[in-house]
């Protein structure tokens, strides 16, 4: 479908080549997200961290990720809510509490659509909340929309 193609004359967005950070503990979901990004022709590198503690270590360049430049932020964080150690809500809170990461686009992608989870996520300042559809074609479609919006259309704040 031609409408699914990215427009050719798009402005050079800082986002276009930056990595995507996926915070996800379920190996099936990691594999499916990879495949979905592939099918959606989103070429940005996908960095995967497996729990909330590692997500924060990565973003704030500490622990196992101490060598990283903390000002090199991903274009977007795809965050699951139910995570081992530090759960998604706490990760979101820590991201919003830190001036460096405060404006980082965070999209919750999770299985739950419980009003309680949606409410908590928005209260903590999430940019978007997406329930992962069970149907695979719809999942690919959703991933494609997220990619188009956040990596192509959206103008991010200049990171320091």
């Amino acid at each position: 479908m031609s409408t699914d193609r990215m427009p050719d004359e798009r402005p050079a967005r800082a986002n276009a080549h930056r990595e995507i950070l996926l915070v996800e503990d379920n190996p099936d979901d990691i594999e499916l997200t990879r495949i979905a990004f592939g099918e959606a022709k989103i070429a940005n590198e996908l960095t995967v961290v497996r729990d909330g503690a590692e997500a924060l270590d990565y973003l704030f360049a500490r622990g196992d990720h101490a060598g990283r430049d903390p000002h090199q932020l991903p274009s977007i964080v795809l965050l699951d809510l139910n995570l081992p150690k530090v759960d998604g809500r706490e990760v979101l809170q820590a991201i919003r509490d830190n001036p460096v990461t405060r404006s980082l686009p965070v999209v919750v992608m999770t299985t739950s659509a419980e009003p309680f989870d949606v409410e908590a996520s928005y209260a903590l300042g999430v940019n978007s909340y997406i329930q992962k559809p069970v149907d695979f074609e719809r999942f690919v479609w959703a991933v494609k929309q997220v990619g188009l919006y956040w990596l192509v259309l959206n103008q991010p704040r200049d990171s320091a």
Binding site: N26, D28, S112, E114, F116, P133, D135, F136, E137
Partner: protein
């Protein structure tokens, strides 16, 4: 511990069950007992919410893996016809299970949602539900009549869900007819509005009318439009939350009628 599914019936009132043990002459003791019941109820509600959350997340995640990896296998163009058919059955089963999980969560949510009562025109919600049904099946010929001025006092989201269930049923069970015919009417009776949703579909056997509203009970197989068996349990629960009662009647000339009452709102 897993909580049993919410049963269809009036809100749990544990004080009734314990009343005989209460020292009726001691108001303070009675109040303490009432407080304890209230705490217990709050704890149960909390546990139910946790349980619903667990279902929502932990059952659906593996289901998504089953569906998605089957979809990827099915996408292989070199697949033998029999294998493809088997994989498609796996996908269809996963989709049915997803529908069931969604309905279970809805039933649980309907039971514990806080009611946001406001003035609602039921006719609008009926038109809305029908518009969705038409959109899903544009080729279907349908004639819908809705009485004007059906104003009730209730929770709009839940009442929309109620009409979705009732009209969706009427629609589904009219699949053998050339034209779907549905009538939504209402009559004021004191402070209540007595409503009826009538269809000219395949109807049902009146001998089983009580079973219609029990979760997981089906009177029709999948070929006749039968689903997960939770739709009418959800509908009954919504009517009960509004202090009413939903009942069903098979119409002599084929078709069914679902009658229920809701708090009436002023007409103007």
């Amino acid at each position: 511990m897993l909580l049993p599914l919410p049963t269809v019936g009036p809100d749990p009132s544990m004080s009734d069950a314990r009343a005989p043990e209460c020292p009726l002459d001691d108001a303070a003791a009675l109040r303490r007992q009432l407080d304890a019941c209230r705490d217990e109820l709050a704890a149960l509600r909390q546990e139910q919410a946790t349980f619903a959350h667990g279902i929502s997340h932990d059952l659906r995640a593996p289901l998504r893996a089953i569906e998605s990896f089957s979809a990827l296998v099915a996408a292989d163009a070199t697949l033998a016809a029999a294998t493809r058919s088997h994989v498609e059955r796996v996908r269809a089963a996963a989709a049915r299970m997803d529908g069931l999980i969604v309905a279970l969560l809805e039933l649980s949510r309907v039971s514990r949602a806080e009611l946001q009562a406001q003035r609602v025109e039921l006719g609008l919600l009926a038109e809305w539900s029908v518009a969705e049904l038409r959109e899903a099946e544009p080729g279907r010929d349908a004639r819908i009549e809705v009485d004007p001025g059906l104003y009730v006092l209730g929770d709009e989201r839940l009442l929309k869900l109620l009409l979705e269930q009732l009209l969706g049923n009427a629609w589904k069970f009219s699949r053998e007819r050339d034209c779907v015919q549905i009538q939504v009417s209402g009559e004021r009776a004191g402070g209540r509005l007595q409503l009826a949703v009538r269809d000219s579909g395949c109807g049902f056997d009146m001998r089983y009318s009580e079973r219609l509203f029990q979760p997981f009970q089906r009177l029709h197989g999948p070929e006749q439009g039968g689903g997960h068996g939770l739709g009418l349990a959800i509908a009954q629960r919504i009517v009960e939350r509004h202090g009413g009662r939903l009942h069903a009647r098979a119409l002599p000339a084929a078709g069914s009628e679902f009658g229920f009452d809701l708090p009436a709102a002023a007409d103007a």
